[in-house]
Protein backbone atom coordinates (compact mmCIF):
# COMPACT_ATOMS: atom_id res chain seq x y z
CA UNK A 1 0.00 0.00 0.00
CA UNK A 2 1.33 3.36 -0.96
CA UNK A 3 -0.51 6.24 0.63
CA UNK A 4 -2.84 5.95 3.61
CA UNK A 5 -6.48 6.17 2.59
CA UNK A 6 -8.72 6.86 5.58
CA UNK A 7 -11.97 5.03 6.12
CA UNK A 8 -14.71 7.49 6.96
CA UNK A 9 -18.21 6.58 8.06
CA UNK A 10 -20.99 9.12 7.67
CA UNK A 11 -24.14 8.93 9.77
CA UNK A 12 -26.73 11.12 8.08
CA UNK A 13 -30.40 11.89 8.46
CA UNK A 14 -32.84 10.76 5.82
CA UNK A 15 -34.52 14.09 5.23
CA UNK A 16 -31.71 16.58 4.74
CA UNK A 17 -28.16 15.34 4.44
CA UNK A 18 -29.00 12.07 2.70
CA UNK A 19 -31.05 14.00 0.15
CA UNK A 20 -28.24 16.53 -0.01
CA UNK A 21 -25.75 13.80 -0.79
CA UNK A 22 -28.11 12.59 -3.47
CA UNK A 23 -28.08 16.04 -4.97
CA UNK A 24 -24.27 16.02 -4.92
CA UNK A 25 -24.45 12.93 -7.09
CA UNK A 26 -27.12 14.15 -9.48
CA UNK A 27 -25.24 17.43 -9.80
CA UNK A 28 -22.19 15.41 -10.89
CA UNK A 29 -20.02 16.88 -8.18
CA UNK A 30 -17.00 14.73 -7.44
CA UNK A 31 -16.04 14.00 -3.87
CA UNK A 32 -13.81 11.64 -1.94
CA UNK A 33 -14.85 8.01 -2.21
CA UNK A 34 -13.55 7.18 1.27
CA UNK A 35 -16.89 7.80 2.85
CA UNK A 36 -19.48 5.14 3.61
CA UNK A 37 -22.88 6.69 4.14
CA UNK A 38 -25.35 5.22 6.62
CA UNK A 39 -28.85 6.62 6.52
CA UNK A 40 -30.87 7.26 9.66
CA UNK A 41 -34.41 8.53 10.11
CA UNK A 42 -33.12 11.53 12.05
CA UNK A 43 -29.98 12.79 13.78
CA UNK A 44 -31.89 12.28 17.00
CA UNK A 45 -31.64 8.55 16.32
CA UNK A 46 -27.83 8.51 16.02
CA UNK A 47 -26.67 6.91 19.23
CA UNK A 48 -23.18 7.77 20.42
CA UNK A 49 -22.44 4.06 20.68
CA UNK A 50 -22.63 3.85 16.88
CA UNK A 51 -19.71 6.24 16.67
CA UNK A 52 -17.70 4.19 19.13
CA UNK A 53 -18.52 1.02 17.21
CA UNK A 54 -17.31 2.67 14.00
CA UNK A 55 -13.93 3.37 15.53
CA UNK A 56 -13.81 -0.11 17.00
CA UNK A 57 -14.50 -1.61 13.59
CA UNK A 58 -11.77 0.28 11.83
CA UNK A 59 -13.04 3.75 10.95
CA UNK A 60 -10.43 6.49 10.99
CA UNK A 61 -12.92 9.31 10.82
CA UNK A 62 -16.64 9.91 11.23
CA UNK A 63 -19.13 12.43 9.87
CA UNK A 64 -22.44 13.07 11.59
CA UNK A 65 -24.81 15.26 9.67
CA UNK A 66 -28.46 16.26 9.61
CA UNK A 67 -30.94 19.08 9.04
CA UNK A 68 -30.12 22.64 9.97
CA UNK A 69 -31.64 23.78 13.27
CA UNK A 70 -35.37 24.52 12.87
CA UNK A 71 -35.53 22.34 9.74
CA UNK A 72 -35.95 18.96 11.41
CA UNK A 73 -38.61 16.79 9.84
CA UNK A 74 -39.62 15.80 13.36
CA UNK A 75 -39.35 19.36 14.68
CA UNK A 76 -36.77 18.81 17.42
CA UNK A 77 -34.69 15.72 16.64
CA UNK A 78 -31.65 17.74 15.65
CA UNK A 79 -31.94 20.00 18.71
CA UNK A 80 -31.83 16.94 20.92
CA UNK A 81 -28.95 15.58 18.90
CA UNK A 82 -27.09 18.84 19.31
CA UNK A 83 -27.25 18.64 23.10
CA UNK A 84 -26.15 15.04 23.00
CA UNK A 85 -23.16 15.85 20.78
CA UNK A 86 -22.12 18.69 23.05
CA UNK A 87 -22.01 16.30 25.99
CA UNK A 88 -20.39 13.56 23.96
CA UNK A 89 -17.71 15.84 22.62
CA UNK A 90 -16.86 17.15 26.06
CA UNK A 91 -16.67 13.63 27.45
CA UNK A 92 -14.46 12.45 24.59
CA UNK A 93 -12.18 15.43 25.02
CA UNK A 94 -11.91 14.63 28.71
CA UNK A 95 -11.00 11.03 27.97
CA UNK A 96 -8.40 11.94 25.37
CA UNK A 97 -10.23 10.65 22.32
CA UNK A 98 -9.46 12.64 19.21
CA UNK A 99 -12.50 14.71 18.30
CA UNK A 100 -10.69 16.04 15.21
CA UNK A 101 -11.63 12.74 13.68
CA UNK A 102 -15.33 13.46 13.93
CA UNK A 103 -17.11 16.12 11.89
CA UNK A 104 -20.51 17.30 12.99
CA UNK A 105 -22.38 19.27 10.39
CA UNK A 106 -25.75 20.47 9.18
CA UNK A 107 -26.25 19.88 5.47
CA UNK A 108 -29.65 20.48 3.90
CA UNK A 109 -31.23 18.73 0.92
CA UNK A 110 -30.34 21.74 -1.23
CA UNK A 111 -26.67 21.79 -0.30
CA UNK A 112 -25.17 19.22 -2.61
CA UNK A 113 -21.99 21.18 -3.09
CA UNK A 114 -21.64 21.72 0.63
CA UNK A 115 -21.84 17.98 1.27
CA UNK A 116 -18.94 17.42 -1.09
CA UNK A 117 -17.02 20.06 0.81
CA UNK A 118 -17.79 18.50 4.21
CA UNK A 119 -16.66 15.08 3.03
CA UNK A 120 -13.55 16.36 1.28
CA UNK A 121 -12.42 18.46 4.19
CA UNK A 122 -12.99 15.61 6.62
CA UNK A 123 -11.09 13.13 4.47
CA UNK A 124 -8.20 15.57 4.03
CA UNK A 125 -8.04 16.23 7.75
CA UNK A 126 -8.19 12.56 8.70
CA UNK A 127 -5.62 11.69 6.07
CA UNK A 128 -3.25 14.13 7.70
CA UNK A 129 -3.97 12.67 11.13
CA UNK A 130 -3.16 9.21 9.79
CA UNK A 131 -4.69 5.90 10.89
CA UNK A 132 -6.26 6.01 14.35
CA UNK A 133 -3.44 3.93 15.81
CA UNK A 134 -4.12 4.31 19.52
CA UNK A 135 -7.73 3.22 19.15
CA UNK A 136 -6.82 0.32 16.87
CA UNK A 137 -4.17 -0.81 19.31
CA UNK A 138 -6.75 -0.88 22.04
CA UNK A 139 -9.02 -3.04 19.89
CA UNK A 140 -6.23 -5.43 19.02
CA UNK A 141 -4.97 -5.86 22.55
CA UNK A 142 -8.56 -6.44 23.58
CA UNK A 143 -8.79 -9.33 21.15
CA UNK A 144 -5.45 -10.89 21.96
CA UNK A 145 -5.37 -10.10 25.65
CA UNK A 146 -5.30 -12.94 28.15
CA UNK A 147 -5.11 -15.64 25.48
CA UNK A 148 -1.90 -16.68 27.06
CA UNK A 149 -2.36 -13.94 29.61
CA UNK A 150 0.60 -12.17 28.16
Amino acid sequence: MSEFEPKVVAFVCNWCTYAGADLTGTSRIKYASNVKIIRFPCTGRIDFMLLLKSFANGADGIIVSGCHPNDCHYTSGNFHAKRRWIMFKELMDFMGIDMNRITFSWVSAAEGARWAEVVNSTVTRVRELGPYVSYKQMVNTSIEEEVTHA
Binding site: R83, G96, T141
Partner: protein
Amino acid sequence: MHNLILKAKELLENKIVSVIIGFETGSSGKVRPVFITDSNKADSLIFDERCIQNLAVYLTKKEVKQFGKMGIVATLPIMRSIMVLISEQQLSPENVVVLGISGDGEVLDFADITVMQHYIEKCELGNPAKEQDMLATLNRLNMQEKFEFWQKEFSKCIKCYACRQSCPMCYCTRCAVECNQPQWIPVQSNNLGNMEWHILRAMHLAGRCISCGECGRACPVGIPCHLLTMHLVDQAQSYFGVYAGISDKMSSVLSTYAPNDKESFII
Protein backbone atom coordinates in the same frame (compact mmCIF):
# COMPACT_ATOMS: atom_id res chain seq x y z
CA MET B 1 -28.21 12.30 66.34
CA HIS B 2 -30.65 12.40 69.23
CA ASN B 3 -33.10 14.46 67.19
CA LEU B 4 -32.74 12.08 64.29
CA ILE B 5 -33.64 9.08 66.43
CA LEU B 6 -36.60 10.91 68.00
CA LYS B 7 -37.89 11.91 64.61
CA ALA B 8 -37.46 8.37 63.25
CA LYS B 9 -39.28 6.90 66.23
CA GLU B 10 -42.10 9.38 65.84
CA LEU B 11 -42.54 8.51 62.16
CA LEU B 12 -42.54 4.79 62.86
CA GLU B 13 -44.78 4.93 65.93
CA ASN B 14 -47.38 7.10 64.22
CA LYS B 15 -47.24 4.76 61.26
CA ILE B 16 -46.42 7.61 58.91
CA VAL B 17 -43.70 5.44 57.39
CA SER B 18 -43.14 1.69 57.51
CA VAL B 19 -39.39 1.78 57.19
CA ILE B 20 -36.59 4.21 57.92
CA ILE B 21 -33.54 3.99 55.69
CA GLY B 22 -30.54 5.34 57.57
CA PHE B 23 -27.04 4.54 58.76
CA GLU B 24 -25.80 2.32 61.55
CA THR B 25 -22.38 1.32 62.83
CA GLY B 26 -20.86 -1.36 60.65
CA SER B 27 -17.79 -3.54 60.95
CA SER B 28 -14.24 -2.27 61.54
CA GLY B 29 -15.08 1.40 61.90
CA LYS B 30 -17.29 1.50 58.81
CA VAL B 31 -20.88 2.66 58.71
CA ARG B 32 -23.54 0.95 56.68
CA PRO B 33 -27.14 1.33 55.57
CA VAL B 34 -29.82 0.07 57.91
CA PHE B 35 -33.54 -0.49 57.41
CA ILE B 36 -35.55 0.06 60.56
CA THR B 37 -39.15 -1.09 60.74
CA ASP B 38 -39.50 -1.24 64.52
CA SER B 39 -39.32 2.02 66.48
CA ASN B 40 -37.58 0.21 69.35
CA LYS B 41 -34.65 -0.42 67.06
CA ALA B 42 -34.31 3.18 65.93
CA ASP B 43 -31.63 3.79 68.57
CA SER B 44 -29.08 2.18 66.31
CA LEU B 45 -29.41 5.08 63.85
CA ILE B 46 -26.30 7.22 63.61
CA PHE B 47 -25.16 10.14 61.57
CA ASP B 48 -21.61 11.45 61.30
CA GLU B 49 -19.08 12.44 58.65
CA ARG B 50 -18.62 8.82 57.59
CA CYS B 51 -22.24 8.63 56.45
CA ILE B 52 -21.73 9.61 52.84
CA GLN B 53 -23.26 6.72 50.94
CA ASN B 54 -26.09 7.69 48.64
CA LEU B 55 -29.02 5.88 50.23
CA ALA B 56 -31.42 6.95 47.49
CA VAL B 57 -30.32 3.83 45.60
CA TYR B 58 -32.62 1.82 47.89
CA LEU B 59 -35.74 3.83 47.08
CA THR B 60 -36.17 1.93 43.83
CA LYS B 61 -35.19 -1.45 45.21
CA LYS B 62 -38.01 -3.97 45.09
CA GLU B 63 -37.53 -5.48 48.53
CA VAL B 64 -37.35 -2.08 50.21
CA LYS B 65 -40.38 -0.70 48.35
CA GLN B 66 -42.39 -3.66 49.60
CA PHE B 67 -42.40 -2.19 53.09
CA GLY B 68 -44.64 0.65 51.98
CA LYS B 69 -43.96 4.29 52.69
CA MET B 70 -40.26 4.95 53.24
CA GLY B 71 -38.50 7.45 55.46
CA ILE B 72 -34.96 8.23 54.42
CA VAL B 73 -32.08 9.97 56.18
CA ALA B 74 -30.94 12.36 53.50
CA THR B 75 -27.92 14.56 52.98
CA LEU B 76 -27.94 17.01 50.08
CA PRO B 77 -26.88 14.49 47.39
CA ILE B 78 -29.60 12.12 48.57
CA MET B 79 -32.21 14.90 48.47
CA ARG B 80 -31.16 15.73 44.94
CA SER B 81 -31.30 12.07 43.93
CA ILE B 82 -34.83 11.95 45.27
CA MET B 83 -35.68 14.94 43.08
CA VAL B 84 -34.30 13.19 40.01
CA LEU B 85 -36.16 9.98 40.84
CA ILE B 86 -39.42 11.86 41.28
CA SER B 87 -38.98 13.88 38.11
CA GLU B 88 -38.24 10.68 36.19
CA GLN B 89 -41.32 9.00 37.67
CA GLN B 90 -39.38 6.35 39.52
CA LEU B 91 -40.63 7.44 42.90
CA SER B 92 -43.88 8.92 44.02
CA PRO B 93 -43.55 11.88 46.39
CA GLU B 94 -46.37 10.39 48.49
CA ASN B 95 -44.23 7.35 49.10
CA VAL B 96 -41.28 9.04 50.75
CA VAL B 97 -40.60 11.12 53.84
CA VAL B 98 -37.27 12.89 53.88
CA LEU B 99 -35.35 13.19 57.13
CA GLY B 100 -33.04 15.90 55.89
CA ILE B 101 -29.60 16.46 57.34
CA SER B 102 -28.01 19.86 56.80
CA GLY B 103 -24.35 20.38 55.97
CA ASP B 104 -23.53 20.79 59.65
CA GLY B 105 -25.45 17.73 60.75
CA GLU B 106 -28.72 19.32 61.91
CA VAL B 107 -31.98 17.48 61.30
CA LEU B 108 -34.17 19.39 58.87
CA ASP B 109 -37.91 19.24 58.87
CA PHE B 110 -39.33 19.00 55.37
CA ALA B 111 -43.12 19.14 55.36
CA ASP B 112 -43.13 18.21 51.69
CA ILE B 113 -41.06 18.11 48.52
CA THR B 114 -41.56 21.82 47.83
CA VAL B 115 -39.98 22.73 51.16
CA MET B 116 -37.08 20.45 50.35
CA GLN B 117 -36.76 22.12 46.96
CA HIS B 118 -36.43 25.52 48.62
CA TYR B 119 -33.70 24.10 50.82
CA ILE B 120 -31.81 22.60 47.85
CA GLU B 121 -32.00 25.88 45.95
CA LYS B 122 -30.11 27.60 48.73
CA CYS B 123 -27.28 25.07 48.72
CA GLU B 124 -23.99 24.96 46.83
CA LEU B 125 -24.67 22.58 43.95
CA GLY B 126 -21.41 22.13 42.07
CA ASN B 127 -18.90 19.32 42.37
CA PRO B 128 -17.16 18.86 45.73
CA ALA B 129 -13.92 20.84 46.13
CA LYS B 130 -11.65 17.79 46.08
CA GLU B 131 -13.12 16.61 42.80
CA GLN B 132 -12.95 20.09 41.31
CA ASP B 133 -9.20 20.01 41.89
CA MET B 134 -8.83 16.61 40.30
CA LEU B 135 -10.94 17.67 37.32
CA ALA B 136 -8.83 20.78 36.87
CA THR B 137 -5.63 18.72 37.01
CA LEU B 138 -6.93 16.29 34.40
CA ASN B 139 -8.22 19.05 32.17
CA ARG B 140 -4.74 20.54 32.02
CA LEU B 141 -3.31 17.36 30.44
CA ASN B 142 -2.97 17.09 26.70
CA MET B 143 -5.00 14.64 24.64
CA GLN B 144 -2.41 11.86 24.68
CA GLU B 145 -1.87 12.16 28.44
CA LYS B 146 -5.59 12.08 29.10
CA PHE B 147 -5.96 9.01 26.91
CA GLU B 148 -3.15 7.24 28.72
CA PHE B 149 -4.48 8.21 32.13
CA TRP B 150 -7.90 6.73 31.42
CA GLN B 151 -6.54 3.68 29.63
CA LYS B 152 -4.50 2.86 32.69
CA GLU B 153 -7.49 3.32 34.94
CA PHE B 154 -9.83 1.30 32.73
CA SER B 155 -7.35 -1.55 32.51
CA LYS B 156 -8.14 -2.18 36.19
CA CYS B 157 -11.87 -2.54 35.53
CA ILE B 158 -13.26 -6.00 36.24
CA LYS B 159 -16.79 -5.20 35.07
CA CYS B 160 -18.36 -5.88 38.45
CA TYR B 161 -20.73 -2.97 37.82
CA ALA B 162 -20.47 -1.68 41.38
CA CYS B 163 -20.45 1.83 39.85
CA ARG B 164 -23.80 1.16 38.25
CA GLN B 165 -25.38 -0.68 41.14
CA SER B 166 -24.47 1.93 43.72
CA CYS B 167 -25.91 4.78 41.66
CA PRO B 168 -29.51 5.81 42.41
CA MET B 169 -29.92 7.06 38.86
CA CYS B 170 -28.95 3.68 37.37
CA TYR B 171 -32.31 2.17 38.19
CA CYS B 172 -32.98 0.43 34.87
CA THR B 173 -33.85 -3.21 35.37
CA ARG B 174 -32.27 -3.95 32.01
CA CYS B 175 -29.10 -1.99 31.38
CA ALA B 176 -27.89 -1.17 27.87
CA VAL B 177 -24.71 -3.06 28.66
CA GLU B 178 -26.76 -6.23 29.00
CA CYS B 179 -28.33 -5.83 25.60
CA ASN B 180 -26.97 -8.53 23.29
CA GLN B 181 -28.83 -7.86 20.07
CA PRO B 182 -26.71 -6.03 19.16
CA GLN B 183 -23.98 -6.60 21.68
CA TRP B 184 -23.04 -2.96 22.22
CA ILE B 185 -20.42 -3.71 24.79
CA PRO B 186 -18.43 -6.94 25.13
CA VAL B 187 -19.36 -9.05 28.14
CA GLN B 188 -15.74 -9.67 28.98
CA SER B 189 -13.51 -7.12 30.60
CA ASN B 190 -10.97 -5.79 28.10
CA ASN B 191 -9.50 -2.39 27.30
CA LEU B 192 -11.93 -1.47 24.57
CA GLY B 193 -15.01 -2.83 26.29
CA ASN B 194 -14.11 -1.25 29.60
CA MET B 195 -13.72 2.14 27.98
CA GLU B 196 -16.97 1.75 26.07
CA TRP B 197 -18.73 0.81 29.28
CA HIS B 198 -17.50 3.89 31.09
CA ILE B 199 -18.43 6.15 28.17
CA LEU B 200 -21.89 4.61 28.07
CA ARG B 201 -22.36 5.02 31.81
CA ALA B 202 -21.20 8.62 31.77
CA MET B 203 -23.37 9.51 28.78
CA HIS B 204 -26.45 7.92 30.31
CA LEU B 205 -25.83 9.98 33.43
CA ALA B 206 -25.05 13.18 31.55
CA GLY B 207 -27.17 15.93 33.03
CA ARG B 208 -28.59 13.53 35.62
CA CYS B 209 -25.58 13.10 37.88
CA ILE B 210 -25.85 14.93 41.18
CA SER B 211 -22.14 14.71 42.12
CA CYS B 212 -22.45 12.34 45.07
CA GLY B 213 -19.36 10.40 43.99
CA GLU B 214 -20.83 7.06 45.04
CA CYS B 215 -19.69 5.26 41.86
CA GLY B 216 -16.05 6.09 42.55
CA ARG B 217 -16.32 5.08 46.19
CA ALA B 218 -18.00 1.79 45.35
CA CYS B 219 -15.35 0.76 42.82
CA PRO B 220 -13.35 -2.08 44.39
CA VAL B 221 -10.30 -1.42 42.23
CA GLY B 222 -10.28 2.35 42.67
CA ILE B 223 -11.13 3.73 39.23
CA PRO B 224 -12.11 7.39 39.67
CA CYS B 225 -15.11 6.88 37.39
CA HIS B 226 -17.05 9.57 39.27
CA LEU B 227 -14.83 12.13 37.56
CA LEU B 228 -16.38 11.27 34.20
CA THR B 229 -19.90 12.05 35.31
CA MET B 230 -18.75 15.01 37.39
CA HIS B 231 -16.98 16.46 34.37
CA LEU B 232 -20.31 16.34 32.56
CA VAL B 233 -21.96 18.01 35.54
CA ASP B 234 -19.63 20.95 34.95
CA GLN B 235 -20.28 20.90 31.22
CA ALA B 236 -24.06 20.74 31.61
CA GLN B 237 -23.83 23.73 33.89
CA SER B 238 -21.63 25.76 31.57
CA TYR B 239 -23.56 24.99 28.38
CA PHE B 240 -27.10 24.82 29.63
CA GLY B 241 -26.93 26.52 33.01
CA VAL B 242 -28.58 23.79 35.05
CA TYR B 243 -27.73 21.33 37.76
CA ALA B 244 -29.66 18.08 38.06
CA GLY B 245 -31.94 17.30 40.96
CA ILE B 246 -33.08 20.76 41.96
CA SER B 247 -36.76 20.34 41.22
CA ASP B 248 -39.22 17.48 41.04
CA LYS B 249 -40.56 18.73 37.74
CA MET B 250 -37.49 19.35 35.63
CA SER B 251 -36.44 17.35 32.58
CA SER B 252 -32.86 16.23 32.39
CA VAL B 253 -30.50 18.13 30.13
CA LEU B 254 -30.51 15.53 27.37
CA SER B 255 -34.23 14.93 27.31
CA THR B 256 -34.97 18.52 26.50
CA TYR B 257 -33.47 21.34 24.40
CA ALA B 258 -33.44 25.03 23.81
CA PRO B 259 -33.39 26.35 20.21
CA ASN B 260 -30.59 28.72 21.14
CA ASP B 261 -28.21 26.13 22.61
CA LYS B 262 -24.70 27.30 21.80
CA GLU B 263 -21.85 25.19 20.51
CA SER B 264 -18.88 25.90 18.30
CA PHE B 265 -18.02 22.63 16.62
CA ILE B 266 -20.96 21.82 14.34
CA ILE B 267 -20.22 23.17 10.88
